[in-house]
């Protein structure tokens, strides 16, 4: 059983809700923090690295230009569709009578898509590929006693979708014997989000009750529908603006997604989190709302884990 928490908008409460789900399900779950750009699951779950459980991540080869060999012919500049090759300061002097051009060219790593088109066209063999460690993948133990698989993508590195798949694979291998895998998805609707959603049995759509939250959730819900994933909604930061609460409910209703609960905007949740507590461990109404929302999600999970015969009509969803 794979449950993915996603929102479209950043800062909507994905990580906190995923952590609360882990707290509620432990010890029968495994966590996977797929927000590898901004991995906060380890902080939320009080995770400590398990001895020997870190591995290097390679994103695939990138390309460089050897300045000693480059003749500044600019064939690579012509071939690059991503404007990722820039002139090196200084002049290359090809001989008497020639027009002075740049000294050479180099690849802007931040813009390079690593397609290799430049490699094919360089007449001098000045372009070479290299492998570089792009991040690390960890398995940590959490304060709830369950493992969390998480990763750190090095700043500026490409292909985070590939790292997300690596996190997912490692976590799926750990989630044996009916344990539920809780996936914390990155914001947005792009490649790492698709990698986080794919194969999910249930998506918990966190809708921040704000204009941006509703707009971004709308795009996420469209993506989820196209991927034919089953989902349940949770409103977060409600009570700030009644119109936005209404809009958040309407956006889920428009996609035919049931509302599992509504979490209040309450600084006490933030304080608890800063103090190392999950949201469902908070006293009072704020915590009560969180527990009610989680209970709905747990009911959905239970429903989905019933033997196939008992829910055969539910297999092909939506």
């Amino acid at each position: 059983m794979i449950v993915t928490v996603a929102s479209g908008k950043g800062g909507a409460g994905k990580t906190s809700i995923a952590a609360a789900l882990v707290a509620a399900l432990a010890p029968r779950c495994v966590g996977a923090d797929c927000d590898v750009d901004a991995a906060n699951g380890a902080i939320a779950l009080g995770a400590r690295l398990v001895e020997g459980e870190a591995s290097d991540y390679y994103a695939g080869p990138g390309f460089r230009i050897d300045q000693a060999v480059c003749m500044a012919c600019a064939a690579c500049v012509e071939a690059c569709r991503f404007d990722a090759i820039e002139a090196e300061a200084g002049a290359f002097d090809p001989g008497p009578g020639a027009i002075l051009g740049p000294r050479g060219y180099s690849i802007v790593v931040e813009l390079c898509e690593r397609c290799g088109a430049c490699l094919d066209v360089c007449p001098n063999g000045a372009i070479y590929s290299y492998e570089k460690k792009a991040g690390e993948l960890f398995v940590s133990s959490t304060r709830y006693g369950i493992p969390l698989v998480h990763a750190e993508l090095f700043p500026g590195e490409d292909t985070s979708g590939k790292l997300v798949r690596a996190v997912r694979e490692r976590a799926e291998a750990l989630a044996q014997d009916g344990a539920t895998l809780i996936v914390d998805a990155p914001p947005g609707i792009g490649c790492p989000v698709i990698a986080s959603l794919s194969g999910s049995d249930l998506v918990v759509v966190v809708v921040e009750a704000s204009l941006s939250g509703v707009r971004d959730a709308g795009r996420l819900l469209e993506l989820i529908a196209s991927m034919r994933r089953r989902s349940i909604g949770i409103l977060n930061k409600t009570g700030l603006n009644a119109d936005m609460d209404k809009a958040a409910r309407a956006c889920l209703a428009a996609s035919g997604v049931a509302i599992g609960g509504e979490i209040l905007f309450d600084p006490s949740l933030r304080s608890a989190e800063e103090g190392g507590k999950a949201w469902n461990e908070v006293e009072g109404e704020a915590g009560e709302r969180v527990r009610a929302a989680l209970a709905s999600v747990l009911r959905s999970i239970e429903e989905l884990t019933k033997p196939k015969s008992a829910r055969d009509s539910g297999k092909e969803l939506i």
Partner: protein, 296 residues
């Protein structure tokens, strides 16, 4: 003096939801009071700038953003498989001499077309997103928007950056995507100054750390704008100081403001806040003018 070109300020953060869009919108509104300003929404997976301007009509129909993808001319294909070998994105498979192209994962690099010895690949365009332009008073708006289900956010970001360069003006404010991987770095690339918006929470501090490392390694001029000041447990000032980045502003947490922000209501009537935004833009532009021979 350099050729006329706008000062480009990128508003970014590691963590989402720290207030990038809110800050970018108000920086741009404040800047537009005294100079020709363009606000560019480069958070193309979740573009929300236009939500702050519900009454604004687009100047014209959205323009399509597309990439060139290969299409197979079956009659010419010899099934050699060189195209599949050249593709780094897994967009082409050649099994038993049969070539299949997956347009959805193609990045449009053109390498396969160049390597095909039989001329069996020709390029067609596939839409990956759109751009919308509009104007509010003296402020111009440009939004990049990736199509739902697509993965080529960087193609949309790059297209919006190119369009922004054509539009010119005195100042560009970019609203960047969260994170520190390719969409965020494409959005920050080429900026004269990066404002990293952070909040004083443990999550934000962790993500800010990655973003600070990025701007430092890339050699980008940057500073920290602390939003929701007083709303967490982390001393962001100390963190910024340790990494050698200046704190360029502080915006206090107020529940009323959180409510207004939720509804996408502007804080333009708050004179102190707007002056703070205007002063920040002016300071950054002046700093650029003195430190590197000018943006203009």
């Amino acid at each position: 003096m350099n050729a006329l070109r706008p000062a480009v300020i990128a508003v970014a953060s590691g963590k989402g939801g720290t207030g990038k869009t809110t800050m970018a919108v108000h920086l741009a509104l404040a800047s537009a009071r005294t100079r020709a300003t363009l606000l560019v929404d480069l958070d193309v997976e979740a573009p929300d700038v236009l939500g702050y301007f519900p009454m604004v009509e687009p100047l014209e129909a959205p323009s399509s953003v597309s990439v060139a993808v290969p299409r197979l001319v079956g009659a010419f294909c010899t099934g050699c498989g060189l195209c599949a070998n050249s593709c780094r994105f897994g967009a082409i498979i050649a099994i038993g001499g049969v070539v299949t192209i997956d347009e959805k994962v193609c990045k449009g690099c053109g390498r396969c077309v160049a390597v095909c010895p039989a001329g069996a690949l020709v390029e067609g365009r596939v839409e990956v997103g759109a751009m919308v332009e509009s104007r509010v008073g003296a402020l111009s708006l440009l939004e990049g928007r990736m199509a739902v289900g697509d993965i080529r956010s960087t193609a949309v970001i790059d297209a919006a950056k190119r369009r922004a360069a054509e539009l010119g003006g005195a100042a560009h404010i970019r609203d960047c995507p969260p994170g520190i991987s390719c969409p965020a770095t494409h959005a920050m690339e080429g900026a004269d100054f990066v404002i990293l918006v952070a909040e004083p929470t443990r999550f934000s501090a962790h993500d800010l750390f990655g973003a600070m490392r990025y701007v430092r390694d890339r050699g980008l001029a940057a500073g920290i704008l602390i939003n929701k000041y007083g709303f967490g447990s982390v001393d962001i000032e100390e963190l910024a100081d340790r990494e050698g980045l200046p704190v360029v502003g502080r915006v206090a947490f107020e529940r009323d403001r959180a409510g207004a922000g939720a509804a996408g209501r502007l804080w333009e009537s708050n004179g102190d806040f707007m002056r703070q935004m205007e002063d920040l833009v002016t300071t950054l532009i002046d700093m650029g003018n003195s430190s590197r021979g000018g943006f203009r």
